[in-house]
């Protein structure tokens, strides 16, 4: 077993275990802190898959932004000193049945019970094939995804990029106008 395999499986265990804690923890604040480790594990998985820019963006946006917003929401809407912030399960049976059905269906589709380690419908490349591909097709090796991503975001995907910026602006204005106190 190589080092990258070991790192990958540690990250996978951290991510899946934290996701289970998020789903099943009886206290809300424990769920939020487990979500921190789940998001960190996903960032590590991005890095292990070669997506360096996305790993950094995941840490900055999710952990630096969304998780802080979540903790902010928990602290503002609960009386911290009085309660222990319970997070009751109201539809546990039906929810777990539906989630288990979806899990089994997706695992079946992903080829979890096949011996080859790849789903039947996808043509994947292994590392030796990738180096062979680089020799035959002369595609340059991409060490750093940031430059490629930036070029594509501002040329090929410039329209979605601009639409996303408008969506962010509208969401910011809408959030500010919803959350402000009514002035009579």
């Amino acid at each position: 077993m190589e080092a990258i395999d070991l790192i990958f499986w540690i990250l996978a265990l951290v991510t899946c275990g934290s996701a289970v804690v998020v789903a099943l923890s009886p206290k809300l604040i424990h769920s939020v802190f487990a979500l921190f480790f789940a998001l960190l594990g996903v960032a590590g998985l991005y890095a292990a898959l070669g997506a360096d820019f996305l790993a950094a963006a995941q840490v900055i946006v999710y952990i630096g932004g969304i998780l802080v917003l979540l903790i902010f929401g928990v602290m503002l809407t609960n009386r911290i000193g009085q309660s222990h912030l319970p997070n009751e399960l109201t539809h546990g049976v039906s929810g777990s049945i539906l989630a288990a059905l979806v899990l089994v269906a997706v695992l079946r589709f992903a080829g979890a019970w096949r011996d080859s380690g790849d789903p039947a419908w996808a043509r994947t490349y292994r590392s030796d094939e990738v180096s062979q591909l680089a020799k035959t097709e002369r595609i340059p090796a991409v060490k750093n995804t940031t430059m490629t991503l930036g070029v594509h975001l501002l040329t090929t995907y410039v329209v979605p990029f601009e639409v996303a910026s408008v969506v962010l602006l509208v969401a910011m204005i809408g959030a500010a106008s919803i959350a402000r106190k009514e002035v009579d």
Binding site: W9, L49, G50, A51, G73, L89, V106, A122, T124, L168
Partner: protein, 107 residues
């Protein structure tokens, strides 16, 4: 059993487990913060799938899956901001955070 090395199936299995946990959060909880955490888990699972397909199916070509994942992150961020604003507004009006409490259209 699949091999132990990082492969497409292993990444899909991890994201399937994350997706199921997020779905359970959304379905079984009544706290809006918990529901938002479930949605974020599901979006992360989808993003992980996009990155995995990008790096195993098109290992050398341009990073289409990464571009798509960036847009998903943008939408998740704006959604979280609007969700927090709605949560604060709900708490100001009803003094409780429970999605079952939102029953009237006219405040």
């Amino acid at each position: 059993m699949p091999t132990l090395a990082p492969s497409l199936t292993n990444c899909l299995m991890i994201s399937a487990i994350m997706f199921a946990c997020g779905l359970f959060c959304v379905l079984a909880r009544r706290n809006p913060v918990s529901i938002l955490m479930g949605v974020e888990l599901m979006l992360n699972a989808a993003n992980l799938n996009l990155v995995a397909f990008s790096s195993f199916v098109h290992p050398r070509s341009y990073h289409l899956g990464h571009c798509f994942a960036i847009f998903v992150i943008v939408l998740a961020a704006s959604e979280a901001a609007v969700f927090l604003a709605l949560l604060l507004s709900l708490y100001q009006q009803l003094q409780r955070t429970d999605v079952d409490a939102i029953q009237s259209l006219k405040g």
